[in-house]
C-alpha cells in the first residue's frame, strides 16, 4: 500500500545512470478563496483561503475556519485559480484608469462576480455582477458600471459558475452562532475576575 505520509513519498527513488527526469509536482492540496456575508444585506467580503482537495471539501472546511465566531448569514468558496485579478494601484491612482477595452471578444457571455479593494490591506468586497465573455471584458464592463467617486485599488473577477454557494436550506447553518459566547474570549471577563481576586488578596 502506498503511504499517505508525505515524508515517505517524497524520498527520492533510487535510479540508474543517465536517467534525468523533470521534478514531479508535490502531492499537496490546492487553495480555495473564502467569501463571507456577515449580515443580511451586507456585501460578501473576502476572508482568506483554506487548503482542500476539492471545492466541496473547501466549503465544509471554510465554514468553521472562517465563521465559527460572531455572526454570518452566508458563505461561498472558489478555487484560487478561478480568481482573476487586475493590476494594483496606490495613492491617488484609481485602478480603473489601467483597465481598457479588450480587443478581441467572443460572443458566448457568462456571468462574473466583481470585487473592489477600496483600501490597501483591507478585504475585497463584492460590488456586483456583470455579463461578459472574458475576465478582461468583465472588468471593462465593471469600469462602466461600478466606477463612481470611490477610489478603487484592485479589482477581482470570478466566473459565477465556478463558485460553491450556500444553498437556501444551508442558511440554517449559522442559526445558533450568535449564542456561542463561549467562543468569545472577552465574554469570560478574565480581567474583572482577576481584579476581584486581587482585591480579595489584599
Amino acid at each position: 500500500m502506498k503511504s499517505l505520509d508525505p515524508r515517505v513519498n517524497r524520498l527520492p527513488v533510487v535510479g540508474t545512470a543517465g536517467n534525468i527526469i523533470p521534478k514531479a509536482a508535490l502531492d499537496q492540496f490546492g487553495t480555495f478563496e473564502v467569501f463571507v456575508q456577515p449580515k443580511e444585506g451586507k456585501p460578501f467580503q473576502h476572508e482568506g483561503a483554506v487548503h482542500a482537495p476539492d471545492l466541496e471539501m473547501a466549503y465544509v472546511l471554510a465554514k468553521e475556519t472562517f465563521t465559527r465566531r460572531f455572526t454570518c448569514t452566508s458563505l461561498y468558496v472558489t478555487d484560487t485559480r478561478d480568481v482573476h485579478i487586475s493590476p494594483t494601484t496606490e495613492g491617488s491612482q484609481n485602478v480603473y484608469t489601467l483597465i481598457e477595452e479588450p480587443v478581441t471578444q467572443n460572443n458566448t457571455k457568462s456571468s462574473f462576480e466583481i470585487y473592489h479593494l477600496l483600501k490597501r490591506g483591507k478585504q475585497h468586497q463584492h460590488i456586483g455582477t456583470v455579463e461578459a465573455s472574458t475576465p478582461e471584458e468583465a472588468m471593462f464592463i465593471a469600469k462602466q458600471q461600478f466606477n463612481n467617486d470611490k477610489m478603487v485599488y484592485n479589482v477581482w473577477a470570478i466566473r459565477t459558475s465556478t463558485i460553491r454557494f450556500t444553498t437556501p436550506e444551508e442558511k440554517d447553518l449559522w442559526n445558533t452562532l450568535p449564542e456561542k459566547k463561549f467562543r468569545d474570549a472577552s465574554d469570560y471577563k478574565g480581567g474583572d475576575k482577576l481584579k476581584l481576586f486581587l482585591e480579595r488578596q489584599s
Partner: protein, 249 residues
C-alpha cells in the same frame, strides 16, 4: 415523566461523551482546517448536552454541572459507541458519520415531539446538525473514493464500528409509552431511517456494507453497562470540576 427523563438522559449522555472524545483531537487533527472543524463540532455536542441537562433540571433533576461531572460510569446512559477511545482518525470519522447521521434523524423526529421543550430544542439546533452531517458525508464520500489506503482504512473502521453503531438503537423500557404519547417515534423507526441514509452515502463510495442481519449490536450502554474506557474519560473530564465544585468560572 420517567420515560421523558430516560430519553433526555440517553441523548444528552451520548452528546457529552462523544463531544469529549472528539475534543481529544484538538491540536492533533490531520490538517489545520479540519482540526478547527472537528473541534467546533465537538463543542456543539457538549453544548447540545448542556441544553438537554437544562431541560432535565426543569423536570427536577440536579444542575447540569452536577449531572455531567459527579456521576459514575454506571450512571451514564450513553451507548458504547461514543465512549470507545479514538485510535486512528479513520475510526473517528466513521463514528462521526454513523453517530451524527442517527442524531440528525433523531432530532428531525423530535422536532415533531409532543414534549415542547424537546421539540423547540430540535428545531433550534437543526442548522448545527445539518453541518455535522454535511461534514461527515463529504469526508466519507471523498475518502471513500480517494486512494487505496483511505478506502481500506475506512472499510476496516466501518466493519469494526457497525456493531457498536447498532447499539445506538438499544430500546428503552419506555418505548411504548414514548410512542403512545407522541413524544418520540421510537428506536425501531429511527434505525430504519438510519439504515437508508447510511446506505445512500456508502453507495456513492467504494466502501461496502455487510448484510445487516449478520451484524450483532453491542448493547448495554443504555442500562449503565459500559466498557472499561468510560470511567477514565469521566475522571479526566471532571478532574477540574471536582477540585472545587462550587467555583465560579
Amino acid at each position: 415523566m420517567d420515560a421523558i427523563k430516560e430519553l433526555l438522559y440517553k441523548i444528552a449522555d451520548d452528546q457529552l461523551i462523544l463531544g469529549h472524545r472528539n475534543s481529544e483531537w484538538t491540536g492533533f487533527g490531520p490538517l489545520l482546517e479540519e482540526d478547527i472543524a472537528f473541534s467546533s463540532m465537538a463543542q456543539d455536542k457538549v453544548g447540545q448536552s448542556y441544553a438537554l441537562y437544562q431541560i432535565l433540571q426543569q423536570l427536577g433533576e440536579q444542575a447540569p454541572d452536577t449531572v455531567a461531572f459527579m456521576r459514575n460510569a454506571n450512571q451514564f446512559h450513553n451507548c458504547i459507541l461514543v465512549e470507545l477511545p479514538n485510535g486512528e482518525y479513520d475510526f473517528s470519522l466513521i463514528r462521526h458519520f454513523l453517530f451524527d447521521t442517527a442524531e440528525a434523524l433523531r432530532f428531525e423526529m423530535l422536532a415533531q415531539s409532543s414534549f415542547q421543550p424537546l421539540a423547540e430544542l430540535a428545531r433550534k439546533i437543526k442548522g448545527e446538525l445539518l453541518y455535522h452531517t454535511l461534514h461527515a458525508n463529504t469526508f466519507i464520500k471523498k475518502l471513500g473514493t480517494a486512494t487505496e489506503e483511505s478506502i481500506t482504512r475506512l472499510q476496516q473502521s466501518l466493519e469494526f464500528t457497525l456493531p457498536y453503531a447498532l447499539g445506538i438503537f438499544e430500546e428503552s423500557p419506555f418505548e411504548g409509552e414514548l410512542i403512545d404519547k407522541g413524544i418520540f417515534e421510537g428506536e425501531k423507526v429511527l434505525k430504519e431511517k438510519w439504515i437508508l441514509k447510511v446506505e445512500a452515502v456508502i453507495q456513492q463510495t467504494n466502501l461496502h456494507l455487510p448484510d445487516w442481519h449478520i451484524v450483532t449490536p453491542v448493547t448495554g450502554g443504555r442500562n449503565g453497562q459500559h466498557t472499561e474506557h468510560l470511567q477514565p474519560l469521566l475522571d479526566e473530564m471532571s478532574e477540574v470540576f471536582r477540585i472545587d465544585p462550587a467555583a465560579e468560572w
